[in-house]
Amino acid sequence: MLKKLLIVVVEPDPDRAQSIAEGLRGAGDHDIRIIAEQTALARRVAELRPDVVLIDIADPSRDILEELALASGPSERPVAMFVDRSDEQLTRSAIEAGISAYVVDGLRPDRLKPVIDAAIARFHMLQQLRAELAATRAALEDRKIVDRAKAVLMKARGIGEDEAYALLRKTAMDQGKRIGEIAQQLVTAAGLLGR
């Protein structure tokens, strides 16, 4: 029987880390460890001697792992090598999903591929969640700023709420901009004018 793969997930956000670990468990019986702390990251990873390290492609700590990928001398077991020595398509898919993987030299592709595929699927899901969250936040921000802009208009022009909103919407349409942008400009201008 094959030895379990030791997979290290470097991820400071506990929810994301759990979600990634869960995705990986679906890909086989692996030993999964999560590192959330950036302090002494290189040493922690080196001590664990993982077969695979997974990390968000935009995580600044990646540059620390890059060093590990090269630090292994001829006498040492290579800590990690880049995944893409073997499979260019897999690398590309991983990069597009926003994931980077460091893989121990000599790990068989048939053992690696299911792990990377599962990680890619999970990162795609997380990417989508993140985009939805950002959209919700932006909508909420827009609503707040539109409320403030309405108040400015109501006070300055002595009009009602519905009329103020209609004015904002018409201006936005005329200028081909989002209503939130127009509202932001109005609130900024009102602030400058001390109103």
């Binding site: 492609i57 935009a58 600044p60 700590s61 540059d63 090269l70």
Partner: protein, 393 residues
Amino acid sequence: MITLRLGYIPLIDAAPLIVAHELGFAAEEGLQLQLVRLGAWAQSRDLLGAGLIDAAHMLVPLPVGQALGLGPALPVLDLVMFLSHGGQAVAVSRAIEDQLRAVGHDFDFADARRAGLALRRVVAGRLRVGVPFMFSTQLELIHHWLSACGFTPSDLDIRTVPPPMMAGALAAAEIDAFCVGEPWASFAVEHGIAALLLPGTAIWSAPPEKGLVLRHDFVEDRPEQSGALMRAIWRASRWLDEPDHCGTAAEIISRKDYLDLPSELAERGLTGRLTILSDGETRDVPGFLAFNGGAASFPWKSVAALFAASIARQHGRAEAPAMQAAMARFRTDLYRQHLRPAGAALPGASLRVEGAIAEDRTVPAERGQMILRADGFFDGFTFEPPAGPASTN
């Protein structure tokens, strides 16, 4: 309008890309730039290799490491111009600052030998130094400077620390010193964590820091777009070199979409007027950061060879083939082709003895004359590049 996606790391030397976009230099060339803020140098390299960005603001030694086969197997990357020289500072912890004062060091922020020897006197064990990436001008500067001041390889522990984490690592005593690009050295001083010991230019007067890097197939298949991008950025860098523009530049690059830091912090590096100690003491460093003047943007093949030789030694590779491989990736031919029409001064040769110019010097150019920036090392080191197939153009 052609849209190009440009990756950058939030540092003040990303200014040529940001200014090319914000002040319309790109639009004049028919380009719409989408600037993509990135978190790691490895991310920049990977996105560029995978074609998710078209060009990147990158550490000059990074494509050299890639050319030496020391990175992932990605498509070939070419460096077409330098974006900046200098902009780095060496910082030490407050504890080392006190020790240096105790042996009479006066923090002149200029004399690299005196600073290095003082450091040699006060450091007992290994000196742990943070650098932003293992292929970086910062690492090369630290290596060169401390080796010349009596530190042996076993006296040094050089570690990668991402720039935004540099101050934190120093505060947590994970490192004793660091060399980093602005604004992160000033940031550490501002938070009372570090004292600045030297500017990078005190070690090497013109250390090439960032370059514009594209995929080889992109520059070959899309010469018009590559040329337009190079000219837009070259004009932006010429605009940035005007001292009167520092304030505006600092304000633009500090915006929330870009560096998202107080513009006063960015202005320090752009003007070369740095606060070096937490008591507010400042030093003026002429030429601390240069973008364009003195042929700063010309991507000398001899610089490729110098970095390649050093990286090859550090990683146990043969130097001669490493130098040839790296020189082939510094595209002086494209620089000449695309920037000649913009009026850039072009040197007669594409490689030179590095470190040989003690003071700014006027030399013959392709047409007329041009001024070359002083590029001396503090210890008089010079580097003679090899001849060979990759050294022409």
